[in-house]
Symmetry: T
Subunit: 68 residues, 12 copies
């Protein structure tokens, strides 16, 4: 692990139900084209409101993957 | 959308179960007197503890609504 | 309450399911040796990924307890 | 001036042309209902893009007015 | 306490003598129109100088009150 | 909109005339290879000076585009 | 001094009268069990309000002591 | 360039028309007494309001010059 | 006021009694060589401890003066 | 230089010996696929410990390269 | 690893030669009484000067260890 | 020490070899004209790259000296 190099992506995922599902969606989508995503960090949690209710959550995260 | 003006409120909601429920409670309460809340951003997530268990979550958010 | 002194610990808890469970785990573990934990504040939300899925959440929090 | 009390509003204004116009629009709108706005501070400068061009600027500011 | 919703105001108070008096002045003024102010947090401490002496202190704070 | 995933790029554009033109230049250049840039946020405004005059503005922004 | 190692504690003290007294109370309490506290830094100044008056100040500080 | 030492000044300039003009004014004024100003970075954008209109912009910047 | 240029100094003052006295000492000392100090902002409040008591306060501030 | 556009990558490099070597490793690895890396900025310095000794340093940096 | 709880210490180490040696010294000292230190993060790098030369480096870090 | 006043300079030094040498160079240069530099704090670590190698390090620091 001591000589790996990682690259970080910044992603934003959405979910109508929870912060966790918004993160999972962003990770799943990015994993379609990037292998080796290893960790993430939440950097912003936002959401949109309709009729006084949370319509969906929108979570921005940094995701790190190993350069091969 | 390019000529709207928004005002931001800072609110703190609470819930015994989840971060999401604390946000939803704050949005619902503010919507009783403010129309057009459009988005929110979580700015602080805290909580209170009793007997080594989380008694309730307390989440502070900014909520933006359109000035009419 | 006006003459209490509190001390803050920084803890990191983990969970395979949710941010809330990671916090609860850290609070429960610290409560084995520290009495009077009164409040907490989330300072960082991270996680680890395996095969494009969130393997576990890792949440860092500050927890305050009353010095006796 | 040494015994005035000020209150701060957080506003977001928009403009298709410039940062300065977005700020001016927010100040003008808020001045319809609040007297005595005295100063402002820009806290975030964003914008939206259509077809590779800036469609409009969206500037968030704090605006302070004197409580009477 | 677990189901209250709080709103935060940002205020700036002034005093020729101390930081504490500037805060007290802002809280007293806001309490004329807002009931239930419960807590505050200092966010900025500034001041103005005349002839090499502090003429007055100007302290910005966030103040939280319970929505009823 | 609730199930889109966005990726954020960090870009720096330059202009001899204005902050707005530096942003527009960065967005235009990135749009040559990335479709669907939707929003941006200014993160740093710098510039270079020659003979006591601003020679050019250099603005760093985050730009978000939708992953397809 | 060039080979000492210091450890930092985070403490919160309270006082009904001033920021300085809240800090002094926290330092005095911690000194009952920790020797060699050498310096402190204020990290947050809050307070609680009753009937439109500051009931007590609550100051969070970091305090550094030399490991022996 | 690899063995130069730079010093940074913090300046605040004003303009009734734009952010860019406020920066240019501060750079021009400082260049009367400091040679070799090489770069600047905007650190705060504020302004003052009269009758619901922006009376003037006030921009704080850091400016770096080479020590000879 | 709209065409003045200000320069900011960063100073640290000390006092055995209070935060306010540490600020006043720094302003007084700087005013011996700099005219026209107009405003200040506190950026850090620290102190040193001897025998479990605050020995002295050490406050860092930015002080702005008008360039003539 | 006034009409170049730069893109920023976020990278993490590792080294068993020094912060400088961790940065150099990340820059060398990224240069295998990206031409024209021009500058970098360190954003986080971490490390891992085994048996009370630093096993390796892990440094996160932003690296900017010119878009062609 | 998904059910471990970590505690973070904040430490300051010193060295007359390098940032790396100051970190190593702090980790070694803390390891005399705390087992299982796993990672660290540098939070501040300072130093003291004598006769225009760096007399010693003083580095503050957070160090995380597993609670057993 | 309790009645000294310090002034802080912001400096940027460079080195082809290390962060420590860049700091030492800035301190040495500033000591040619300022006596009594007492401490410094690193505020930014950057560098420039040529042909995939670090060409030189560029470190910005605050340096405090005693006003006499």
């Amino acid at each position: 692990m001591s000589n790996h190099v990682y690259k970080t992506l910044e992603l934003t995922g959405s979910s109508t139900t929870s912060i966790e599902a918004a993160v999972a969606g962003a990770i799943a989508k990015a994993s379609e084209t990037v292998r080796n995503i290893h960790w993430f960090q939440v950097v912003e949690t936002r959401g949109y409101v309709e009729d006084g209710k949370v319509a969906y959550w929108q979570v921005t995260l940094k995701a790190g993957f190993r350069l091969e």
